[in-house]
């Protein structure tokens, strides 16, 4: 199969996937108890008032009508308005996106080289003491949930030692990048462990493969065999794991943004779900869905190029 046809087929599939995500998110939020009117009324749930809010929000319309109208507007590029504040959903995305992108982008930027270098480094020493220590550390760290790691790091470096800001409260991450250090470390920890272990395993397999042994027998230098022949094959599964890490990052960002008070998309999502603010939830679902599909598509295309057999089999 040619790369172009493969990409097209995947793109169409992606569109269907995003649509399925939107329907699922709509139904799931709808299935939560209560609606935006009840959430807004809070501890003053005067039934007449709740009914008035509901009518003002248009929530008295049937479910299918609301979803249809929303989808129709989406096709025209209109994400709608927040039920609660009346602000355009596009504003929510535009406000939160740069921060979240910065956080996720920095993490990916650090993740790729560090995990590959570390993975290859230990793979070339497979079975040795360094390998055993790194393996133990990566397994151990991978078992620590983000929020737990975040709390420990904040207590130690943010509050006790005072080396780094414990929260990003009131700070602009672009003007004051120090506020991003702890969040990025927390986001980096688990995927770094996972990808490093994957690269190590793939590299160990590749180094033990027939073609590498053959290349060695031909008298090529060890470095050339390892980096020019073994590594590209070892990277294909790692690239796909990196794509999966992007999905994971979107989830991790929600936790990290909450703990470090970073006003990004994760915070918006949590607030929107709590407020049952459907248009905002849906807008974020579009963004997250499209991002996930695109990143995975990109990863598969890259993997296809790196090792065509792996790609076509997928």
């Amino acid at each position: 199969m040619s790369l172009g046809r493969y990409a097209c087929r995947r793109l169409l599939l992606g569109l269907v996937q995003v649509l399925a995500v939107l329907v699922a998110v709509f139904l799931l939020v709808e299935a939560l108890p209560g609606d935006a009117a009840v959430a807004l009324a809070g501890d003053n749930p005067d039934p007449a008032r709740v009914a008035a809010i509901r009518a003002a929000m248009g929530l008295d319309q049937p479910l299918v009508t609301r979803f249809g109208e929303w989808l129709h507007a989406l096709v025209r590029g209109d994400l709608g308005e927040s039920l609660v504040s009346g602000r355009p959903v596009a504003d929510f995305l535009a406000d939160g996106l740069p921060t979240t992108l910065l956080l996720a982008g920095l993490t990916m930027l650090l993740l790729v080289p560090s995990s590959v270098v570390l993975g290859v480094f230990v793979a070339r020493r497979a079975g040795g003491r360094v390998d055993r220590v790194v393996t133990a550390l990566t397994i151990g760290l991978h078992a620590v949930p983000e929020f737990a790691l975040a709390i420990v790091l904040v207590a130690l470096f943010g509050v006790e030692l005072g080396w780094l800001p414990p929260t990003a409260l009131g700070a602009d991450p672009l003007a004051d990048p120090a506020v991003l250090v702890l969040p990025v470390i927390v986001l980096l920890a688990r995927p770094l462990c996972a990808v490093t272990r994957l690269v190590r395993a793939a590299m160990v397999d590749a180094l033990a493969s027939d073609y590498v042994r053959h290349a060695r027998r031909l008298g090529l230098s060890r470095a050339r065999v390892d980096y020019a022949h073994a590594l590209p094959n070892a990277l294909a599964p790692a690239v796909q794991q990196l794509a999966r890490t992007t999905d994971w990052l979107l989830g991790g960002v929600i936790v990290v943004e909450a703990v470090f008070v970073i006003p990004g998309l994760g915070t918006s999502l949590v607030d929107a779900v709590a407020g049952r603010d459907m248009p905002v939830v849906q807008g974020l679902a579009v963004l997250f869905g499209v991002t996930t599909v695109l990143v995975n598509l990109l990863a598969d295309v890259v993997a296809f190029r790196l090792a065509p057999r792996a790609g076509s089999a997928a």
Binding site: A39, S85, T167, L169, A258, F260, V261, D271, V280
Partner: protein, 510 residues
Amino acid sequence: MSDPFPTLRRRGFLALAGGLALAGCASNTPAASGPRTGGRLRAAFAGGGAKEVLDPHMASLFVEAARSKALYDKLADFGADLTPVPRLAEKWEPNADASVWRVTLRQAAFHDGRPVRAADVLASYARILDPKRAFRAKASLAVIDLKASRAVDDRTIEFTLSRPYVEFPNVLATFSAYIIPESTEDFTKPVGSGPFSFVSFAPGRSTLLKRHPDHWEGAAHLDELEFVLANEKSARVNALLAGQVEYAHDLSPVTARAHEAGGRVKILRSPNSGIQAFAMKVDRPPFDNRDLREAMFLLADRPQLVESVLSGSGQVANDLYGKGYLHYADDIPQRTRDLDKARFLVKRAGAEGLKVTLNTSEAATGFVEAATVFAEQAKQAGITIEVAVGDKDTFWADTLKNGSLSSFRSGAMPIESHVSQRLLSKSTTNVTKWARPEFDALYDKAVSTVDEKARDAVYREMQRTLHAEGGYLVWGFADWVIGTTTAVDGVLTAPANSLDWARFDRVWLR
């Protein structure tokens, strides 16, 4: 219960006993010199994220209330004992039967220089009362007959009410009844008459305000005031410890205990801020049985609840709302645990081996903990309480309708408002379903009795009934815990939602 701040308690007592408004310096350390002018105070609150709005009539969160208070004024606000204190209104005078009220405005100006006029007041109230909208203050303001009310002149308003209502000043002070300039609908750059004027707003992030030099009460000390949002209590206290903010609203009592001895931050406690209770629905089994309700009152170990759930940052309650507030029936003896009598009453109610579900959620701090502790206490009287943790976002609407026993908490409001919103046949948030014609009649009598002493007697009679057989098992009054850096002075301690709570125009930075 240890009391780390005896001065606060004593001052609270003075304010209650003497009816004195807390005035002047009331910080917990004596100021070496007078207030200093200048600086920016950053205050961290829990917030609603990007959905928050600047429309003061839509305020419902604490941060929105605090911000509205900085930007706007009401005609009146509540003192520490929840008596209405004049604000934009200079004075109010009722007619003989308290059905017509003449309110005189003080000389005040909006941030853009326009004077605050009677027309602005009437327009603000008309906006809140708009039948097509659903503002929180609408129910309280509904007593005003707007068509019959009028502006006598620019600074005098004559409010005609739909019935005689002695407690009308409570309406003027009601939550979110702020005065905005006539025909304002756009709040992207809000203009009010409060001690701070608007600079910038980033929803979900921060709101920056600056001193309004011409405020009628005298200019604030701070140059600038910034509200920032952090939903987690732990994040607020961390930001405070690291000096990222100077003021952190609503800390957990456990955190407060951990940090107040360290000297890095100041901890302030506002007594009588959060009313903690369990609500029994009296219109359905099993709590339609009066003996069983009394048994529940008697099996509760209030000191244990206060100590374990509030970590001691609070006081034991007596099944009545509003300790320390005007008209509170402090002459009713404190109820204490009596397991023998509780068991006897359970037996008499035929409720031995009763199993009942207690609906709770994470809607408020300590709800689930209190429910769990209370379930243990009930077990000792032979009642099995199954704690059901429900959805926090819809908890209040759910428990208003469903179940028979639920967690309950309330912020401060006058006892009269508590009764009218929750304990009358026509009350819209009557979670205990307490609906009795003779009780309704007592309320009507109270709010139409002009003589203060006679009125107080009626309120006390109502509270005696509630204490004996009401649906609210009020077990505690939580302190509101606020933390500041040591550089902050002039923070007053008063119940949440009263005038001196989250009041930043009297705060200064050393």
